[in-house]
Symmetry: C2
């Protein structure tokens, strides 16, 4: 690690900048950047993430020099503020906050007003001339510190926070409702009681030495990196524990110094829908936590224009809003405090937003020249784009609900979309309820403890808190439907009821919410396809009538400009393929022919085939023996021959028809057809009645069918007689499939004038010779059919790589294969020796943070060190033999962004995923292309210029630190091993 | 390929030598070598194996220059013999024979007397003054050529060979028994009929042009490389089809020119038991095929000393016998022909022999300085050494059979050992019978068509043919018990009976044979352990009383001198381990602890554990949740806790006891203990009664047990919850096993004063973290137990590499693992995606010569290109992290010679196999070490010196062409990829 552990920022000297997010965390880097760019930031310093990493790698011990470094930084702060930590003249008070590389709102701990004790509080009182303010600050500090650093238990399920009980008693005694109505004397009494409580609970005296307070606070923030909710959050968002958090120590500014003070949080645009409007909230005479915690419902920021003593601040804020977007090139989420009429910026960061807001903001800001198009892509959360496909209320059902008077009230629209589900009031109940169907979690206000319930819920509802409250921020990020701050709701945890205007809903009953409008309804409301689906799939909405579509389309086209990976889809039916094309698919990467086998009557033919397969194979075996009497054998096995070949003959035109549909839908595009893959027993009935029915249909006796089923039983069907092993033993099946494909291709070429491009894919190949034998059939049939029709069809032949041996011997297999498609579902099962179906008994345990054998489910996100290594070997082997070999992936990982990134890095030609994942894949592929493009080395951050002027943006443009990312095909390079 | 296709040999010029077996085949190389060394070899030339390879690689087309090359070689032959092919003065007659790199006796075709036609036969008659001889030669030629080259069908199941029918008619008309009693006129008539038959069957006229005959014959020999029995033979002996055969064309010499002519085959020592005695047979006035085919029972070679006109030849032969061993350094199997008193050598090669003969000959010849010790090892067939462990007759049962008068007769002892089984007369019936138990195949004489039946049989019995007959040669090679030429037996195929001296045995009844003595018995005779087993295992025979043991021990010690691979054994019980040590094992490479779980009462404890495991896991999960009420939970789950931990407590001392036994048996040696591996359901009962019984024993209700069994069902148990996945979810089990191991080790160390060296092996690791978690337990328990006992135990920790991911991430896993042991059973299943249990439906098809997807069963012999590649990656990865990592193999491949060779080449430290395979492994490892030792380049073969003197050995010693192989650790080098 670097030896520099502490970076100063603020007026005078700023050592860091926005490019150092990995080292300084998001908050620290942006504070430095703001200071550097002339925004009025209270001075402070950042302790780097490396210290956190060191701390955990060394049994929770700090680097030896850290204490001295902090002392030095405090001295510098003292110099720049002219105050002194613990000083009895002009004491400096500090805020200590976490700040990881990626924002983890509310997950870690914060300490404010550090430096107060019985001595300094009196000086603060004197200097501010406001005793109530001084003692309220002291009260807050003691309360926070006791909980966070000293470990006095705070909230529990029923809000029996012991500190709150003391405060409640004080309010009761004084006969007031709010804490800010308590007097100085009340607060002194509260503080004394707090300290007694601490002594009683911990046996320790509350510390008076500000340096002791500082060390304790820094330690607490580092420790909170490993608290349960932070771990859970990281798991959900796949943030590695190794990143660690930085700690930001900053001079306090006070929003609670009277009515010309205040604090707020704001977004430069609406983060729920992307509208270009100032979107924020503030509280007069309050500290920041009051806004975020959702205890007091704050005011819309626009109201500040009319708030006495703050009018000029509103003007400044409107300018800040514009400057921030210009300087940071994205929608910003910022915090500010006004101390006696002076505006301070406490934080800015790229704002989390819904997918709807993402496409809208990207469209608007790129078009306005405010955002770099590359940034629009690299900042995307591809996974989130699926939110745009989430349902909305069905119009008729909605109208009916209104008519029936089921609308209870309206809250703040905090997470768009519609949700209907059973109502639950605790995270635990919501989790349990979600097992049975969608649930809505309703809380008076949410806290980080509710995270599990929020993950489980389809919708989130709160009675208190604004659009920046915990619930709103987290819901937006998760893409959950959310209505926040519906103040009229009366939620009674104890009674298990939620009531409003005469309606009462009990836990377990249905409720419906619209996160785009804020409406809340009793009972169910049916949902309807999203706007995007209406434009692209159902075509019930014209593209021009949808602003959302316009923005989505803009972003997708942008993505297509950058991505180098092709995007295909896994589709077995024409309608699936058509949908996928609407979403942007450029071909079919996997058509599973056996899915066609199950429909309608055809399953009977398939079953007929299977029932007589073994006997037919026996016949062929005997007939191939030297000196066999062909005529005698034909006679002996006539029944089996007739049924087996008869069934194939019946299946041929059916399969041909299926392929025609698919080929027509994809004419001119490549269509990868996989030959029969599953073990035969999957096609047979299991129940006695069904077996009996089948036997009667085929005119054979019950036992024959039952015996066939019994004979096909396998101990490990996953590793049994399936894939090309079927086509090897029954080449007639591969021949039938080949014939169906070529006849269909020829028919479509003749009909629509555009030839489809079949890519014939042999599954489960482990030996090059298997592929050779199967392709001999394909090429022979192709020749026959093309000759018969007098029409040439351009086709390719290849194999799935889904068995480790195939990857290991790829150089041999590429002798015959023109393409490889990685079947990562099976490849994961075989490479890990882990059956997906059976892993439920141990894999969840493996994912537990304390066990941490796997970082994420390897069936969802590619195991890059294991399966990925095999893929690399296969890519190398394949290219060695056939430099222009086409390489794709058709496992479910083809729709997973991190897996797509891996596929890009190892140089695949395309990914194939389910139709509805195509937009996700397009965006992920583009992001990966940009991320992995060669970038000019980041220049060393220049020492900060002296900044002045409180808030107004400095004219001097910031030095560009990162060169624009060129679109470029990524050079092949070894993929870094994931640790 | 080289452009030289034809190599001359014989008097005058010899272009090849013994070192060119790959190019010239065994026969061709040794003919050249004999000529070079002055033995009297009829001149000829060899068409190389490369021509054969070219022929098959190019759609059965020859190199363009071949025809001219053959013409040139014929011209040279004509010059050296002074005869002319097709000449009307002094016609040259030729023999055309196959000759592969490894001898494949009787599998391919031969043509003799080539060059005869209606013209040349008359000249031959004139020159030999023997019309009967001339026409008999012609008859033989026409018969052979018609069958082999022109494809007229020869024998079928009931000996209805159409040529034999014609001959039989002739013998009948003449009223004689043997062909050699037919007159010249009879033979002329037979020849005419033969030619008519050919015309009728093929529509073609029998060729008269000797060159046409020659070309046809060469083609027929090359074609016979791909005949069914040759393919089957190669499959059994793992001879690659790519090797091809050479063709030897040689001037005919005639053993049928009268009573001073003859022919014979002989071994320089007894190939059945290795005794130093001249062991051969001859026929007066006969051609070679008569001896080999077993049609006439030949005379012992010693009788030649008293055969008028051949006495001097016997003397020469005795000298040849000595010279051959001296020149070729091994027991020789040679063919000779005497033409009118002149001895010609037709062939010599290292003689196939039984394992008993192998150790005896190796011992005797090495000690006598006749054989190089390295050759004793490199020439070994390690697989065959298992024959020494095959049973012999139980002495009491044998005595009883004699007393009961069940001994029918005595034949020639042609393959040692005792066999008892049902009697069958055809290959097909023997194959079918073998499904139900051991069978004895009895034939009047065997032919290559009987190969399948011989493979299936425990013993082989013939009524005709000597110790060099087809039956005897093939049986010896296969290590089958064989009695040949029991002339008194009357085998009646049609009646299905075999009778002798009043006894009649029907097909399907029992018969017993002793291949060491030649005795044949009616009925069963119980068998007893082999002599070696009596010395090593039952200790019922003192080593000094066993000549066999002395020789075996000599060879094994020689092997140990050369091998670099360690040999361990897979043993779960002390007695297995003790046996393995007796066979030479140096440690236990795999102790499967779960095998201990099934014995006696303990299975009940195991079942108790399993029945309560899921509930116990649930308890632990809840107890680990934050804020869990430990006491309440303990109470709630008290039953499960009590049973689960109680069962473990009961198992601990039992496992400890088991380990104590094993450790004591192996004190001072390493013992690799694998932790619990199979899925839990394997321990549970399946039948309703058993379930009921278990439920009653455990005092729980039936449903609970039944539900547990149901809940443990997996769709692919091979890839399910097993191996370390059990120990991860139930660390208590790993803890119990660890404690049992260390307590046992400590107890044994204290008791016998020698500490065992446990090597603790975690199964089924796929992720490094799995191993870490398991080893945390091992190391903790080790520390605890060693501290408690005040005794240090030297132990190692490691893992099985049996999942592709483990091999791929070996570098990571080696961070914690001190050793790897390749579990190639599972590694093969996962790497090939092929379940061993389910592969029966397609793997036999894959092995079919015409399909040839796999060359041999990958579960028996390591798949070197796939699984082997992974092993290499793991070796590289492991060594990269930990250069001194110990590497072994414990899959069943550890006892397979070709797999052992691979293990040697990739640099493993040891192989582990079942106790009875240890001698095989020792020999295979030594062979591999010698084979892979760096060898000085083979010198170019010097042009032959002019040889003279008919037979007597030339004095000039042959130039050494191959340097002695030094024992040397083989340098690591990439293993050549198998094609």
């Amino acid at each position: 690690m670097a030896t520099k552990h502490v970076y100063l920022f603020g007026k005078g000297i700023t050592e860091g900048g926005a490019s150092q997010k990995n080292l300084l965390g998001g908050k620290g880097a942006n504070l430095a950047e703001m200071a550097r760019r002339g925004f009025n930031v209270p001075p402070g310093f950042t302790i780097t993430t490396e210290v956190c990493t060191h701390y955990y790698a060394n049994g929770r011990k700090y680097p030896t020099t850290l204490k001295a470094d902090i002392r030095k930084a405090v001295a510098a702060l003292e110099k720049s503020t002219g105050k002194k930590l613990g000083g009895d003249k002009n004491p400096m008070l500090l805020a200590v906050r976490s700040g990881a590389r990626e924002s983890m709102p509310g997950m870690m701990d914060t300490i404010l007003n550090l430096g107060l004790n019985d001595v300094t509080v009196e000086i603060l009182k004197k200097k501010s001339g406001n005793g109530r303010f001084a003692y309220d600050s002291y009260r807050r500090f003691v309360q926070m510190y006791s909980g966070v650093v000293m470990g006095v238990e705070r909230a529990s399920e029923n809000d029996e926070d012991p500190f709150e009980i003391i405060l409640e008693e004080a309010r009761h005694a004084r006969g007031v409702e709010h804490d800010n109505q308590l007097t100085e004397e009340d607060l002194k009494d509260v503080i004394t009681k707090f300290k007694k409580l601490v002594k009683a609970k911990t046996g320790k005296t509350f510390p008076t030495d500000p340096y002791e307070q500082l060390d304790g606070s820094v330690g607490a923030v580092f420790n909170s990196w490993m608290n349960e909710r932070a771990i859970l959050y990281r798991k959900k968002y796949k943030i590695p524990a190794e990143w660690g958090t930085a700690v930001n120590v900053q001079a306090m500014v006070f929003g609670n110094m009277g009515d010309n003070s205040g604090t707020g949080v704001a977004f430069t645009r609406n983060p729920a829908n992307g509208t270009d409007e100032f979107y924020g909230e503030f509280l007069v005479n309050a500290q920041g936590e009051d806004v975020v915690a959702g205890i007091r419902t704050p005011l819309k920021v626009q109201l500040m224009a009319n708030t006495k003593g703050l009018e000029h601040c509103y003007k400044e804020l409107c300018q800040v809003r514009k400057d921030l977007e210009k300087e940071f090139g994205d929608l910003q989420d910022f915090e500010f405090t006004i101390e006696e009429g002076v505006l301070y910026m406490l934080q800015t960061r790229n704002g989390k937003r819904t997918a709807q807001a993402y496409v809208k903001v990207a469209h608007d800001m790129v078009k306005a020249g405010l955002m770099k198009p590359e940034h629009a892509i690299t900042s995307a959360d591809p996974e989130a784009i699926e939110q745009l496909l989430a349902p909305i209320f069905n119009q008729g059902a909605y109208a009916a609900a209104i008519k029936e008077g089921r609308r209870l009230t309206k809250g703040l629209p905090a997470g768009p979309g519609a949700a209907t589900g059973t109502l639950w009031f605790t995270a635990e109940k919501a989790e349990q309820g979600a097992v049975h169907g969608p649930v809505v979690l309703a809380r008076i206000e949410t806290s980080p403890e509710d995270l599990r319930g929020m993950i489980a819920a389809a919708g989130i509802l709160t009675a208190r808190g604004g659009v920046s409250s915990h619930a709103a921020v987290v819901a937006r990020q998760m893409g959950k439907v959310c209505v926040a701050g519906a103040a009229e709701l009366n939620i009674d945890y104890a009674a298990g009821t939620m009531s409003c205007g005469g309606h009462t809903i009990r836990e377990g009953e249905f409720v419906s919410i619209n996160g785009s409008t804020g409406e809340i309804f009793a009972g169910k409301i049916d949902t309807a396809p999203s706007e995007l689906i209406q434009v692209l799939i159902t075509k019930t909405l014209a593209p021009k009538d949808s602003e959302l579509f316009k923005c989505y389309d803009f972003v997708m086209k942008l993505a297509d400009k950058y991505r180098t990976l092709g995007i295909r889809t896994n589709a077995d039916q024409p309608d699936q393929a058509i949908n996928a094309v609407a979403f942007g698919a450029e071909g079919v990467g996997l058509c599973r022919t056996e899915h066609m086998f199950f429909e309608g009557d055809r399953i009977d033919h398939v079953r007929e085939l299977i029932i007589f397969a073994a006997e037919y194979a026996e016949y062929k075996d005997k007939a191939s023996a030297p000196g066999a009497d062909a005529d005698k054998l034909k006679n002996e096995y006539s029944v089996a021959i007739e049924h087996f070949t008869g069934a194939l003959a019946k299946l041929l035109p059916i399969q041909q028809k299926d392929f025609e549909g698919l080929f027509e839908a994809m004419a001119d595009k490549p269509v990868t057809v996989r030959y029969l893959d599953p073990p035969l027993h999957e096609f047979l009935p299991q129940s006695k009645d069904q077996i009996d029915g089948l036997a009667k249909k085929l005119g054979v006796n019950f036992d024959r069918v039952a015996n066939t089923i019994h004979g096909l039983h396998e101990s490990n069907p996953m590793l049994g007689h399936r894939g090309c092993r079927l086509g090897i033993v029954y080449p007639e099946i591969s021949e039938m499939q080949s014939r169906a494909i070529f006849r269909a291709a020829i028919a479509v070429a003749k009909k629509v004038g555009k030839a489809p491009k079949p890519e014939i894919m042999i599954p489960l190949v482990a030996f090059d010779r298997e592929l050779q034998l199967q392709l001999e059939i394909v090429h022979r049939v192709a020749k026959e059919e093309m000759k018969a029709a007098g029409k040439k069809i351009d086709y390719k032949v290849g194999t799935m790589i889904e068995i480790p041996r195939a990857a290991l011997t790829a150089a041999d297999i590429a002798q015959t294969a023109e393409f490889f498609s990685f079947g990562t579902n099976d490849l994961t099962q075989t490479t890990l020796g882990m059956s997906r179906d059976d892993s439920g008994t141990f894999l969840p345990f493996y994912e537990r943070p304390d066990v941490s054998i796997v970082k994420s489910n390897p069936f969802a996100s590619l195991d890059q060190s294991g399966v990925g290594r095999l893929m690399q070997l296969a890519v190398e082997g394949g290219r060695q033999t056939r430099p222009d070999i086409k390489l794709g992936i058709c496992g479910e990982h083809g729709g997973d962004p991190s897996s797509i990134d891996f596929c890009h890095r190892i140089g695949l030609s395309y990914v194939s995923c389910s139709p509805f994942r195509v937009p996700v894949a397009r965006l992920a592929a583009a992001k990966s292309a940009l991320k992995n493009a060669p970038v000019a080395e980041v220049k060393k951050v220049a020492p900060a210029k002296k900044a002045a002027k409180p808030v107004a943006k400095k004219a001097a443009p910031a030095k560009k630190v990162v060169k624009p990312v060129a679109k470029k095909v990524v050079a092949k390079k070894p993929v870094a091993k994931k640790k």
